[in-house]
Amino acid sequence: MQKVDLIEGFRNPEHIKALAELIKKEATHKINIMEVCGGHTHTIMKFGLPQILPQTIEFVHGPGCPVCIMPKERINHAIELAKMPNTILATLGDMIRVPGSQTSLQKLRAEGKDIRSLYTPLDVIKIAKENPEKNVIFFAIGFETTTPMTAVLLDTVIKEGIKNIYFHINHVTVPEAVDTIMGDGDAKIDAFLGPSHVSVITGYKIYEPIVEKYNTPVVVAGFEPTDVMESILRIVRQFNTGEKRFVDNEYARAVSREGNIKAQELINKYMKKREHFRWRGIGDIPKSALKLKDEYAAYDAEVKFKQVLPTQELDDHKACICGSILKGLAKPYDCKVFGKACTPSAPMGSCMVSSEGACSAYFKYGKLTAKGA
């Protein structure tokens, strides 16, 4: 059997170059492509794809990552929960670095509060068992990719009869955000790169209504640079071959139309849609997030600790133009405070918050994108 190289094979510079040549030949009209997921933003910038692509292909960087879109009032929730006595707050990723209105989880931790950054949500079980006298609150974040992991955690908590774990759920869903970005008709977006790992869980069927509604292609793309390049070529070819747009799946080695059914069943068992969720940088989006079902309210930190949770909604500074950046109407360089008052270590807006946000990626890889892509 031929050696399977699932990583280097998809980063081979010769492959990338060859795909770029094809795109150059075929992309005769301007196409603005939004990559919805910050993982793609990262790949595009890290491998310098704008430099080898023709001027006709322009990227619009999407909502980025679950940390980027968390509104300040939700971060303040985490902070107030962590301040409670006898409490351990646990979360994933860069969440602890992001400032709320006064402080960040990282600063609180330096002041002695017990805040854990997890490698996997399953570690919450271990922490709870080692600290039976404390409440362990899992601040759950993520798109559809990490939602089933939270559901497995709750499933385990219930099965094992663990009494000291609570959930603060901030899981958000991609299709509603895309619909909102496209909805007012301003957005200059001609096609979407569909997220890789969200789609692994949900299947690519979730993009079918979007394509139908806006006649805009969605191509689900893997994370490696050849995946992104092949997906761009597929988008170009959709535009070159007729009117009817469709959902295409470049990442067939990992994504099916139906997705991971077991994961979807677990999510549906424990969670339901929220009426509303405010996305940092975008604003309120109906039905774009999940919460625990009422029958699991006993595990819901938003119910159990309601009295400590602030209710005031907090927006970013008015200088921040993340909303326009997300619609393809502006670039990070157009922001007056980019790289000055707003930097990755002191972010003022959602796109600078995590390495997967557009402003942060421009800041880090700025020299690579001198053409102002």
């Binding site: 699932l6 094979g9 998809f10 060859a18 860069d94 996997t120 992991m149 070819r237 990442y251 990992a254």
Partner: protein, 91 residues
């Protein structure tokens, strides 16, 4: 945090935990999210301690083979964009 890495299953224990090899690094992940049987030697996609699904290595090889073909045609100057070089029937 959304980066996920293809890893090879090297061992599976009675608790449905798998030892996987990710570019030479061994780690433990749970197979609890996968509805179908997983065998040692297969590839899975790992995210925050969970295997999210299996990776179809046949499909991956097919993609790589197509890229090689495009490179070869490029180098021989034979490429004709009109004809299309990628196998769109799949996926």
């Amino acid at each position: 945090m959304c980066l996920s890495i293809p890893s090879k299953v090297v061992e599976i224990d009675e608790n449905n935990m798998a030892t996987v090899d990710t570019m030479g690094v061994k780690r433990q992940v749970t197979l609890d999210l996968i509805g179908e049987p997983v065998a040692v030697g297969e590839y899975v996609l790992i995210h925050v301690g969970f295997a999210m699904n299996k990776i179809d290595t046949e499909d991956a090889l097919e993609s790589l083979r197509i890229y090689e073909e495009i490179v070869a045609e490029m180098n021989s100057g034979a490429i004709d964009p009109e004809e299309g070089d990628m196998n769109y029937a799949k996926g």
